[in-house]
């Protein structure tokens, strides 16, 4: 035994980020002479790759690697770090035709790109109104037999779910694949070239007219599905301003465990480990200090805004924008501001 004792805890490096971000020094992989091409057409909702898009790119990577091919991302109206997501090549598609909902124009562009580069496979994320729809339009126009709801990829064989989710079909990968979420792990170990091989812009040929998103009653949306949540803690009282802020911003209301115990909110509005695990795009917390159970409930939130008087609260550390002030006053001011802006003053 050596005389000096080592303390392994001091040597352990703590991971700072919870998602597996590819490190900056990830090796660059280049494929110069691919045997075939695999197209990946991400949805790029909000102009960014969604986690479903990244899973689909991971699936494209698997198919390409099994056949020494290259992944070509067809990026329709959107930009992101495609090199880190696994793209060897990039086809950039821009133009006014792609503002709003335009599945038919997207299908036309993909078919044109397929005619130009003749890829062996074309992958879409199987989302009901976006990728899954565009992919099925493409398959129907080309007379291809698409494989929807692809669950797993093993070499060039795929497993897709059918018969109302009761059977799995194993088959050779067809030309058009619609990939379910989590069918493959996203690319994280390497960077790829993402070399631009074509830039196109297309004329729209859509028959559908997009009327835009409709205002909905945010309270009709279950908390687990809400897009934007305004939540209050026990210090928030009276509760009049919180609904005001929520209603003006079109947000769903939530509350902490203490606020629900106090009867300020119904139990189905409780956020946290013993309530609902939420994953909105934005979580706005008024006077919530951030108990571990509450933070667990908002673990998958993309953005957190916290208003709290305590600068050292756990919620303030978690927040992307923290305001050290009295929650009650800020809530009232925000409700007024939103109402003014909505009326267009």
């Amino acid at each position: 035994m050596s005389p000096v004792r080592r303390d392994p805890r001091t040597e352990r490096k703590r991971s700072r980020s919870w998602t597996a971000e590819p490190a900056a020094e990830a090796p660059l992989k280049t494929i110069d002479d691919p045997a075939c091409l695999v197209f990946a057409v991400p949805d790029l909702t909000d102009d960014k790759l969604s986690s479903h898009d990244r899973d689909m790119l991971g699936a494209a990577r698997l198919l390409a690697d099994a056949q020494s091919g290259a992944v070509v991302v067809v990026a329709i109206a959107g930009e992101d770090d495609f090199a880190a997501a696994g793209a060897d090549r990039l086809i950039e598609v821009g133009g006014d035709a792609f503002t709003g909902y335009c599945p038919e124009a997207r299908a036309t562009v993909v078919i044109a790109a397929m005619a130009q580069f003749s890829p062996r496979h074309v992958l879409f994320p199987d989302t009901p109104t976006e990728g899954g729809h565009v992919g099925r339009l493409v398959a129907a126009r080309l007379g291809e037999r698409a494989a929807g709801n692809v669950q797993h990829i093993d070499g060039t064989a795929i497993e897709r779910r059918g018969a109302g989710g009761s059977l799995d079909y194993v088959m050779a990968a067809p030309r058009v694949l619609l990939v379910a979420p989590e069918a493959a792990a996203p690319v994280s170990s390497a960077r790829f070239e993402a070399r631009v091989i074509a830039e196109t812009s297309a004329e729209g040929d859509h028959r559908l007219i997009d009327g835009g998103l409709q205002p909905i009653d945010p309270h009709a949306v279950p908390l687990a599905e809400a897009d934007f949540i305004v939540a209050g803690g026990s210090v928030v009282s009276p509760w009049d301003a919180c609904p005001g802020a929520a209603a003006a911003g079109g947000a769903t209301e939530g509350a902490s465990r203490v606020a629900c115990d106090g009867g300020a909110m119904a139990r189905d509005r409780q956020v946290g480990a013993s309530g609902t695990l939420v994953d909105p795009r934005c979580y706005l917390a008024f006077g919530i200090s951030g108990a571990a159970q509450h933070l667990q409930g908002i673990q998958r939130c993309q953005r957190v805004v916290a208003v709290n008087t305590d600068r050292h609260a756990a919620m303030v550390k978690r927040a992307d924008l923290a305001v050290i002030a009295d929650a009650q006053d800020v809530m009232a001011a925000l409700a007024d501001l939103m109402e003014d802006m909505r009326r267009g003053d």
Partner: protein
């Protein structure tokens, strides 16, 4: 103006007992169609299936059944039947509960007939002047308004209003018109390997397997750190403005100028 609506009805399958039933997408489509006019209902498959009574009991006079074997591809039969008398609006469920369940049938029919195609419809707002105003169901309870020209194929989302009950007497009275159809046997499908669906484990927070055990644990249990912009002791007005600006910047809220033009458009 009476509009000619047709509905595609498929045989459902109860997920637990495996018994035949109305397919959950299709009976919503039929409910939606019954709200417009008395639709033509079309089924491809076995004309003696008891579940046809469940559809008839919702208030149909009759169902047209294209008699095709269960291992055949029903799409050519649908296309030849619909080409003879094309409807203005063709409704179907988003996906079947039996067979390949690829959700491709409405797409292939729309392509063959040259119809426009709208997926995941939650509500038909109005139909006039040769176009239909629809609400499409999106994730997170959102709705998108779409105006589409007739003739049109639309698939009905599970967010659409639930169907009425099926009445036994109406089901008894309902007529089943059998049409012999030519259906090619599905050759490709014979090559597929079929097995019972296996639930795959859901992915946990981290995906990188080369991390150490301690790092994987901390990835699952640690609280993710925010990007941490802090505003210390602002006035309520400043704080509200800062939060509002952040929400606009992150596109959580629509900027007022845009919102105004949206309000003015019909």
């Amino acid at each position: 103006m009476a509009i000619d609506v047709a509905v595609l009805l498929s045989a459902g399958r109860h997920p637990v007992s495996g018994r035949g039933r109305r397919a959950p997408g299709d009976h919503r489509a039929l409910e939606m169609a019954l709200g417009l006019s008395l639709p033509r209902a079309i089924h491809a498959g076995d004309p003696s299936a008891p579940m046809l009574g469940d559809y008839l009991g919702m208030g149909l006079d009759g169902v047209t059944v294209l008699d095709v074997p269960s291992d055949a591809d029903p799409v050519p039969a649908f296309i030849s039947y619909l080409e003879a008398a094309p409807p203005d609006l063709l409704l179907a469920g988003c996906r079947a509960e039996n067979g390949e369940d690829s959700a491709m049938v409405p797409y292939i029919i729309a392509e063959a007939l040259g119809f426009a195609m709208v997926p995941a419809v939650a509500e038909i707002v109005s139909i006039d002047d040769g176009s239909a105003r629809l609400l499409q169901a999106l994730p997170r309870g959102q709705r998108r308004a779409i105006t589409a020209p007739l003739p049109l194929v639309a698939t009905v989302d599970r967010a659409a209003p639930p169907p009425r009950q099926s009445a036994f007497a109406k089901a008894r009275r309902g007529r089943i018109d059998i049409i012999d159809a030519v259906a090619p046997t599905d050759i490709d499908r014979a090559a597929w390997q079929v097995r019972p669906a296996r639930q795959r484990p859901r992915r946990l927070g981290t995906q990188v397997s080369r991390l150490s055990a301690a790092e994987r644990l901390s990835a699952l249990t640690d609280v993710p750190a925010g990007t941490g912009r802090q505003l210390v002791e602002p006035t309520p007005g400043e704080a509200a403005q800062a939060i509002y600006d952040y929400l606009i910047e992150q596109r959580i809220l629509t900027p007022p100028a845009k919102a105004k033009t949206k309000d003015q458009s019909p």
